[in-house]
């Protein structure tokens, strides 16, 4: 038995002599005095609540304009409806990224903005006068479906008006129900945020899975990845050997993909910065997080700005740019992609939160 003790001591000594990976002293990422609650309440009071409030107002207007149009199918009412649709769709871009809490539980994003919409299914729905908006899986609802039925039913406005006038009433019913579905979903989420969830969220501090910090960090990068892939990558052919799909752009029939993109990028930056109040950037500064000898907070902010600036150079709808030459859109894509590693890998790592939207289905060790 004594021999075993010697073996044990020898092992112990030997192991301390092992070469270990030594870095220069570095700031400790997880220990900090950052006031999480102040950041959450800034985000809630200045971005999330006003964002949903604005969206609900815009969606209510949309519903009014839709009613007006259905009562009086005319070019004037159609134009007003389109304007309300565009305005609501832009407001949606501001809150799409808050995919946690009430919006997460109700899959608001998928119900409101699964695109490209499936026009074939919409036509089948309208023909049969049967549809099911409890599921988003058929890509036949939300803003993209509205896009098709108010902008894309035919090549001229007169032809579109004729569809609502001459044929059976199914298009009217469909339009009405798509709008009502959007409206009721937005109202539900907004009400929950206003009346109960905001307090729950603001006080949910810490770094564990499910805390507010983990939710916003995950939501920000998940949303940015969707901007990259859905708004830019797929239509411009980046993910398909350069074969382009102009008709897979967002708001394709209404030709508003460019303003939608610009708003989404700006809103992502606002979310990260917390506008002028405490945001994730301040958190990163507080803990002195560095990436390649630059402040991580600045790296991320600069990359947001690059993407926004390049996107701001775009004027035409993305579909038209892509049809001619995808390169300008690919450039925006590249700028957005450049921020993915800092947002999705660096920030969670230094803030010590797990990437929860990659779920772990098993034990770990």
């Amino acid at each position: 038995m004594k021999k075993l003790l010697y073996v044990f001591i020898a092992t112990l000594l030997m192991s301390f002599l092992l070469p270990s990976c030594r870095d220069n002293p570095e700031p400790d990422p997880c220990e900090n005095g950052f006031n999480q609650e102040a950041m959450f309440s800034n985000l809630v009071n200045n971005l999330i609540l006003p964002g949903y409030q604005e969206l609900e107002a815009k969606v209510n207007t949309l519903a009014n304009k839709s009613d007006a149009f259905l009562n009086n199918v005319s070019q004037t009412e159609l134009d007003a409806l389109r304007e309300a649709w565009e305005s609501a769709y832009i407001s949606w871009q501001k809150v799409a990224q808050f995919s946690f809490g009430p919006a997460g539980n109700t899959s608001l994003r998928k119900h409101l903005n699964s695109f490209p919409t499936n026009r074939a299914i919409i036509e089948v729905n309208v023909d049969a006068n049967i549809w099911d908006f409890t599921t988003y899986a058929r890509f036949d609802k939300g803003f993209p479906a509205l896009d098709y039925i108010i902008n894309g039913l035919d090549s001229t406005d007169q032809a579109i008006l004729n569809k609502y006038n001459i044929e059976n009433n199914n298009y009217k019913t469909y339009l009405n129900e798509v709008v009502t579905d959007i409206q009721s979903r937005v109202q539900d989420v907004n009400a929950e945020w206003r009346f109960s969830y905001n307090q729950v969220f603001v006080t949910n501090t810490g770094t564990a899975e499910g805390t507010a910090l983990s939710q916003i960090v995950n939501a920000l990068s998940e949303n940015y990845e969707l901007i990259k892939r859905e708004k830019l990558g797929v239509p411009s052919g980046v993910t398909n050997l350069g074969f382009v799909y102009p008709n897979r752009t967002e708001g394709y029939y209404g030709k508003i993909s460019t303003p939608l993109l610009k708003q989404a990028l700006q809103s992502a930056k606002d979310f990260y910065m917390g506008l002028d109040g405490p945001g994730l950037d301040d958190f990163l500064i507080e803990i002195d997080a560095e990436k390649e000898e630059e402040l991580l907070a600045e790296v991320i902010e600069n990359r947001f700005d690059f993407a926004i600036n390049i996107a701001n150079e775009l004027e035409e709808p993305l579909s038209e740019i892509i049809s001619e030459n995808a390169q300008p859109v690919v450039r925006v894509y590249n700028e957005v992609a450049a921020n993915m590693v800092p947002l999705k890998t660096d920030m969670p790592s230094v803030l010590c939160v797990a990437i929860t939207y990659i779920d772990n289905p098993s034990d770990s060790d």
């Binding site: 038995m1 003790l5 092992t11 301390f16 400790d28 564990a208 993915m340 010590c352 060790d365």
Partner: protein, 446 residues
């Protein structure tokens, strides 16, 4: 001289010792594995881990291991469950042990994504259960075939498990002796603050010094516990430490069966007296007549050589990373099968590109079209998985792209730091071969 040593070892390893510790081990192992399989089914892991994925990562040399369809998978898992119960009951014990070992190992070999050290440990235990005479008492076999009943077994059949446990703990301890673990209290500095909601103890997790105490405590525990358990005077105290330590890890981490495996398996260090009393509660009576068996001299010599070879492999394998340049926590070369348990917090992102040089086209790959999120997470930190994925992409694209070049933009963040580039982004992964040589295209940690 050689002969003298051999005889001495033979004598000590084949001396008859009482069977009780082995009986406890058999029953505990069988029941725990059966429960583990029920848990596996109930958590929906058959579907999540083996039905949903369209592609599976393999271990080197085991690329041929097939994944059955859903029905086949259920049959396999129920086979494991039933054979585990039969092991516990000692019913057609050896056959059951063979079936358990074969089917459990098959399940583990199907997708390397799901590698866990404790599943590997289960495979090793199951392997030895095939050879040890654990059904020679207090089993249905011994009840049916009375003539196989023995009160004593050759000592090696208990020593082998003790060896394994000491090795696991010691290697896990040595692995903790790295800069991050000891001097940055990482990754515990990340993990503990996630559990501040635990009553009483949770309060302390907000402080960094708690992570230091836990890190050093964990390292000292792992390094010493296997050895302390060997001394009868220390054993009761050491076992208290085992229970406290593993209950703590069970509370803090999502590590499934591991704590229970260790709490149960370490009982094998205890004396036969202890086990006879323990088993007494469920009706065990040690036989009054001594009986044991011993293989022939030749059999002993063969067995001894086999055991020695096994031990050498087991001792050397966890240290093979010394043969590779760089830090194993970064390169992952020599990471598996080395008892690196809960050692590092890593996350990565790996964006693959496929290039068609002839037509000057390229495409970014959306990993989610081929991999589950869990697979993607594992792949983004493990270079050998990246090769497998690249080869899979090459195959998928074979009608679209002739001679595709596949590159990856991979970044990995370790233990609360910002990420570094992980893989040389100019290298064509589809043409790399996975083997035991170092992968030169893994960039060194800067």
């Amino acid at each position: 001289m050689n002969n003298y040593i051999e005889n001495k070892i033979l004598k000590s390893w084949f001396q008859p010792i009482r069977i009780a510790p082995l009986i406890s081990f058999r029953i505990f192992f069988g029941l725990l594995m059966a429960w583990g399989m029920i848990r596996f089914i109930q958590n929906g892991w058959i579907e999540k881990l083996y039905v949903e994925p369209k592609f599976f990562f393999k271990y080197y040399g085991f690329e041929w291991v097939p994944v059955p369809d859903e029905t086949g998978l259920y049959i396999l898992v129920y086979t494991i469950l039933v054979s585990a119960l039969f092991i516990a009951l000692g019913f057609f014990y050896r056959l059951s042990a063979i079936i358990f070992f074969g089917s459990f190992t098959w399940l583990e070999l199907m997708d390397a994504t799901n590698y866990l050290n404790h599943y590997y440990l289960v495979c090793l235990f199951a392997f030895w259960l095939i050879f040890v005479p654990a059904n020679r008492a207090f089993s249905l076999d011994a009840f049916i075939f009375k003539n196989i009943k023995r009160s004593h077994v050759p000592a090696w059949s208990i020593y082998i498990f003790i060896f394994q446990m000491v090795l696991v703990y010691t290697c896990a301890g040595i692995a903790k002796l790295n800069y991050d673990w000891l001097f940055r209290a990482m990754p515990l500095g990340i993990w503990l603050p996630e559990h501040t909601d635990i009553p009483v103890l949770g309060y302390f997790f907000q402080f960094k010094w708690t992570a230091y105490i836990f890190s050093w405590g964990g390292a000292i525990y792992d390094l010493s516990i296997g050895w302390l358990l060997l001394f009868s005077k220390m054993r009761p105290w050491a076992y208290v430490a085992v229970v406290v330590f593993h209950l703590m890890t069970w509370m803090l981490f999502n590590i499934g069966l591991f704590p229970i495996i260790m709490i149960g398996s370490t009982l094998i260090f205890f004396s036969a007296d202890f086990h006879e009393r323990l088993l007494g509660y469920i009706g065990y009576k040690s036989s009054t007549t001594e009986s044991h068996f011993s293989p022939s001299k030749l059999g002993q010599q063969i067995l001894l050589k086999g055991i020695l070879i096994y031990m050498i492999i087991q001792v050397v394998l966890p240290f093979r990373h010394w043969l590779y340049p760089g830090n194993v926590l970064w390169t992952e070369e020599g990471y598996r099968f080395s008892w690196r348990v809960m050692l590092v917090e890593k996350s990565g992102s790996a964006t693959f590109h496929i290039h068609d040089r002839k037509n000057n086209r390229s495409s970014e790959i959306i990993n989610g079209q081929y991999l589950t999120r869990f697979q993607e997470k594992q792949m983004s930190i493990q270079p050998d998985f990246m090769i497998q994925f690249a080869k899979h992409l090459k195959k998928t694209y074979k009608n679209k792209v002739e001679k595709p070049e596949i590159t990856v933009d991979a970044h990995v963040a370790i233990n609360g730091r910002t990420s570094r580039r992980f893989i040389d982004s100019t290298i064509n992964l589809a043409e790399q071969r996975d083997n035991f040589l170092t992968k030169k295209w893994i960039l060194s940690y800067k």
